[in-house]
């Protein structure tokens, strides 16, 4: 029982996975517009890849050796689902279109193109293109590659197909068929040059389709600029009754076409192949499988030139539509040499890609070619949008610059009137020093003299790839060019010299102080000798004079400065402040007091003098151990 459950679960899982495997089907197709081409001609290579399922396959293009890619276009994937009684079929398609210019004469082979999805791989057969010298080889008819050629189905929106033919002066062409037919509708038959014409191509069918219709021929649009209007909308089937029969209707293509010249222009036919019939559809008009081919009628337009304006020809080529222009600077003040961005925005309804302004020439300002960004908007099937032109301005000289207005002449087909629209003038204030205009550092890419424009022999050397990352650093002055560099370099020498001067000065002062102290010490010793002699001779006056001189000289030697000029009280305080202990202060000042008394007090005995001499020597010994504190600290 358990095993049976497991088996049932496995079977259910496989049945769920199976559609996914089926959906991962890839169809790959390559087309070239000719197989013989001249060296100066351009070949169009179109690669269409289709897959069932929501994922787009990976397409690997080979190296296109022998060709230079001059243009490249990718049409976005389109998806739609059909309900043909077999479950929803989701289809994605991607079309890569390359403009290739041969770089050499002879047979050039385009190697196989590979598409892969979910492990499934498709590769095309190699294509050989014959390149001849000279120009003017006639294009050969399109060369569909053998193999699968199924392509596209078209998404649809809520665009109800018109029920009447040729309304509002438009075109509506269809050959009604009982099983299926294609209807091509344009909203105008005689537009002005540059005016939008909206073209829609519908598939009408009463048959059950077994798969999406295969496009055999896309409508040609030579002489028009085209903008797709269907995009990625989900296709919606609608029903319409034609001549009493109910048809399912699918919009296949819807695009805005802008005629680029006057005269007769046409949108070519679109051819489809339909696989019809389903055994399950017992109510269908026919049973069994059938393949139908249908094509639309070409739409021919009589494109009118723009009418002559009243009051003379407006300046410049008129732009068809309704537009407004505005301009702005990223800042109103700048320094010389600093880049300022001037942005001009043209916005409105019409083909904004036609907007062109001559690059303004302003004395003192370098105006670089603009960077152009288009934003196309097709809301309500009217194509319009915004073209943004960003100019980099580099001021070379200070001053006030009046930037000119950016003006356009427009022609509105609805009112058949010309108008002149423009931006407001702007002012840029520039400060700083004038910068010399840059002389050419290399021949400019597009201003070459006839001699320089001659093609140079291209070397066969394999040059390194360019770098895609850059800090885009601006040049700053080198350290050695900075005004502070050389003074900074001299600073260590200056500091060293200052240090040496201060050091030698300090040494000199120390030496001088040492000399004064030793002199005082010598003096003290000689006075002590004199005191000893006087004591032996019992000359009291001389002894006490020498004793007082000994004490003062000893104090000077210890303190580094004379100790004279103080009263005994002041001397006592001063010695205490210089860190002498009280006992020694008392002893020293006592000696001086006794000496003063004795000098004025008459004779003394030999024993008393010997005792004083001993006391004097003891005091000197103690003073020898005395270390005074700094005078500033005292």
């Amino acid at each position: 029982m358990r095993r049976a459950c497991l088996g049932a679960a496995l079977l259910a899982a496989i049945s769920l996975l199976l559609p996914a495997i089926v959906l991962a089907d890839i169809k790959l197709q390559v087309r070239v517009d000719r197989k013989n081409i001249a060296l100066d001609d351009t070949l169009t290579l179109q690669v269409s890849v289709e897959s069932r399922g929501s994922e787009a396959p990976d397409v690997t293009m080979p190296e296109l050796d022998g060709f230079e890619i001059v243009s490249q276009q990718v049409q976005r994937p389109m998806q739609f689902s059909f309900n043909f009684g077999q479950g929803a079929v989701v289809q994605s398609s991607m079309v890569y279109t390359y403009g290739l210019r041969p770089t050499r004469v002879g047979a050039i082979t385009i190697k196989p193109i590979v598409a892969e999805l979910a492990g499934e791989r498709r590769a095309t057969a190699p294509l050989t293109i014959t390149v001849s010298q000279g120009s003017g080889s006639a294009p050969t008819p399109p060369d569909p590659d053998p193999g699968t050629a199924d392509q596209t189905a078209q998404p649809g929106g809520d665009d109800t197909p018109p029920s009447n033919v040729s309304k509002n002066g438009g075109l509506d062409l269809a050959e009604v068929d009982g099983s299926a037919f294609i209807r091509a509708v344009a909203d105008k038959a005689a537009p002005y040059v540059g005016e939008q014409v909206t073209v829609t191509i519908y598939l009408y069918t009463r048959e059950s389709l077994r798969g999406p219709p295969a496009t055999e021929t896309e409508p040609t649009t030579d002489g028009f600029w085209i903008h797709d209007l269907l995009g990625n909308q989900q296709l919606r089937e609608q029903r319409q009754v034609i001549q009493g029969a109910v048809y399912a209707v699918y919009p296949l293509r819807r695009f805005a076409a802008f005629p680029l010249r006057s005269g007769e222009l046409s949108i070519g036919t679109m051819a489809l192949r339909l696989d019809t019939g389903s055994v399950l559809d017992i109510f269908g008009p026919r049973r069994g499988n059938q393949q139908l081919s249908r094509k639309s009628a070409p739409l021919v337009f009589q494109v009118k030139p723009l009418p002559e304006p009243t009051g003379g020809q407006p300046p410049g080529d008129p732009l068809v539509g309704r537009f407004e222009v505005e301009s702005k600077l990223d800042r109103a003040q700048s320094a010389t040499g600093d880049a300022v961005t001037l942005t001009v925005v043209v916005r409105g309804v019409g083909n904004v890609r036609d907007v062109k302004f001559p690059t303004p020439v302003i004395n003192g300002l370098d105006v670089l070619e603009p960077e152009i960004k288009d934003l196309i908007d097709a809301t309500g099937d009217r194509v319009g949008g915004t073209r943004e032109l960003r100019y980099l301005l580099v001021p070379r000289a200070p001053g006030r610059y009046e930037l000119p207005k950016f003006e356009l002449t427009t022609f509105d087909p609805a009112t058949e009137r010309y108008a002149r629209v423009g931006s407001t003038p702007l002012t840029l204030e520039v400060v700083g020093n004038a910068i010399a205009a840059q002389p050419s550092t290399a021949p400019a890419a597009d201003d070459k003299t006839a001699d320089e424009a001659k093609p140079k022999p291209v070397s066969t050397h394999e040059w390194q790839p360019i770098r895609t990352q850059s800090a885009l650093a601006r040049r700053s002055a080198l350290f050695a060019e900075q005004p502070w560099f050389w003074p900074l370099l001299g600073l260590p020498a200056v500091l060293y010299a200052g240090w040496q001067i201060a050091r030698s000065k300090r040494k000199r002062m120390q030496a001088r102080a040492q000399t004064a102290q030793s002199r005082a010490e010598q003096e003290a010793r000689s006075k002590l000798d004199a005191a000893s002699t006087a004591a032996k001779q019992q000359d009291g006056k001389a002894f006490f004079a020498a004793a007082a001189a000994t004490v003062l000289a000893t104090l000077q030697a210890r303190l580094g400065e004379p100790a004279t000029g103080y009263t005994h009280g002041q001397l006592r305080r001063y010695l205490s402040e210089r860190g002498m202990n009280d006992a020694l202060v008392h002893e020293v000042v006592g000696l001086l007091e006794r000496a003063d008394h004795a000098r004025f007090g008459g004779a003394t005995t030999a024993a008393a003098l010997d005792a004083e001499l001993t006391a004097l020597k003891a005091a000197r010994d103690k003073l020898a151990g005395f270390v005074p504190t700094a005078k500033e600290a005292a």
């Binding site: 230079e68 890619i69 490249q72 990223d330 800042r331 040499g337 600093d338 880049a339 300022v340 961005t341 370098d366 670089l368 070619e369 960077e371 960003r390 980099l392 580099v394 840059q438 002389p439 050419s440 550092t441 290399a442 021949p443 400019a444 890419a445 597009d446 320089e452 093609p455 140079k456 022999p457 291209v458 070397s459 050397h461 040059w463 390194q464 790839p465 360019i466 770098r467 895609t468 990352q469 850059s470 800090a471 885009l472 650093a473 601006r474 040049r475 080198l478 350290f479 050695a480 060019e481 560099f485 900074l488 370099l489 260590p492 020498a493 500091l495 060293y496 240090w499 040496q500 050091r503």
Partner: protein, 262 residues
């Protein structure tokens, strides 16, 4: 005070925004030029890179790409110029070294094919070769450090008492002084302070070296594409030039590319 701080913050914010916008524009030009290069539209790529240079960008990578785009167009003189400029901006850049050498080889090969022989000068003078891998800023910083170290050594020598330390400092100080003198010389070479004129590269094969600043003046010699030289002065559309070979005369300024843009 609060108002002042607020206004200062607003001014700073607006400055930051405008500089960010400018940087974005430059980035876009760089990307567009790179894309043009990838699809083989070298003329458009060169134009884009030149726009960046005109906008004040002095970047070795931009110069490298400009050189490569010129090289792919076969404009090898301009390739030599911009590879050399990339090396001036970023000494020792391997890619630029390789590109410069390849451009010079290609020029010599082409000349040899045309004329049967060609002289290829790839060795710069010894002093230039010695300082080539070092940037001027690197030399300046090294000079500053060695100066500080030298005087520091002198101070230490005066203050230490141990004989071994004194000996070590006594050996180090003269060596540092020697290094300082060499670095000063190197910096002067790097800044071209010892040579007259401004370095240039000849952009056109056979560009005439004239007797005077006039197209009608007698031709003294014909310069070679990619050849180096120095511009001494400019008069009108001509510049008095001394080529690396020593030949002196007047050349059309448009035939010369300045190695250092400013």
């Amino acid at each position: 005070m609060r108002k002042l701080a607020l206004s200062a913050a607003l001014v700073l914010a607006s400055l930051a925004l405008t500089s960010a916008a400018r940087a974005e524009s430059l980035d876009r030009i760089f990307s567009a030029a790179n894309e043009a290069c990838f699809r083989g539209d070298f003329a458009a790529a060169i134009k884009g890179y030149e726009q960046l240079e005109q906008a004040g960008v002095r970047d070795a990578d931009v110069s490298f790409n400009l050189a490569t785009a010129h090289a792919r167009r076969g404009e090898l003189g301009a390739a030599v110029l911009y590879f050399s400029r990339a090396l001036w901006l970023r000494p020792g850049d391997d890619g630029a070294e390789e590109g410069l050498s390849a451009a010079q080889n290609e020029l010599a090969k082409g000349r040899a094919d045309r004329e049967g022989e060609a002289e290829l000068q790839t060795r710069p003078p010894l002093a230039e070769a010695l300082v080539r891998p070092i940037s001027a800023d690197g030399l300046a910083v090294a000079m500053l450090l060695s100066c500080i170290a030298f005087f520091g050594c002198l101070v230490a020598w005066s203050t230490v008492h141990r004989a071994a330390q004194k000996l070590a400092l006594g050996v180090a100080a003269p060596l540092l002084l020697l290094a300082l003198l060499l670095l000063t010389g190197g910096l002067l070479v790097k800044l071209d302070a010892l040579r007259e004129g401004e370095p240039v590269i000849v952009l056109r094969e056979g560009a005439p070296l004239l007797e005077g600043p006039d197209d009608k003046a007698q031709v003294r010699k014909q310069a070679l594409e990619g050849q180096g030289g120095r511009v001494l002065r400019t008069e009108g559309a001509h510049s008095e030039t001394v080529l690396d070979t020593g030949a002196r005369g007047w050349m059309a300024t448009s035939d010369l590319g300045r190695l250092r843009p400013d």
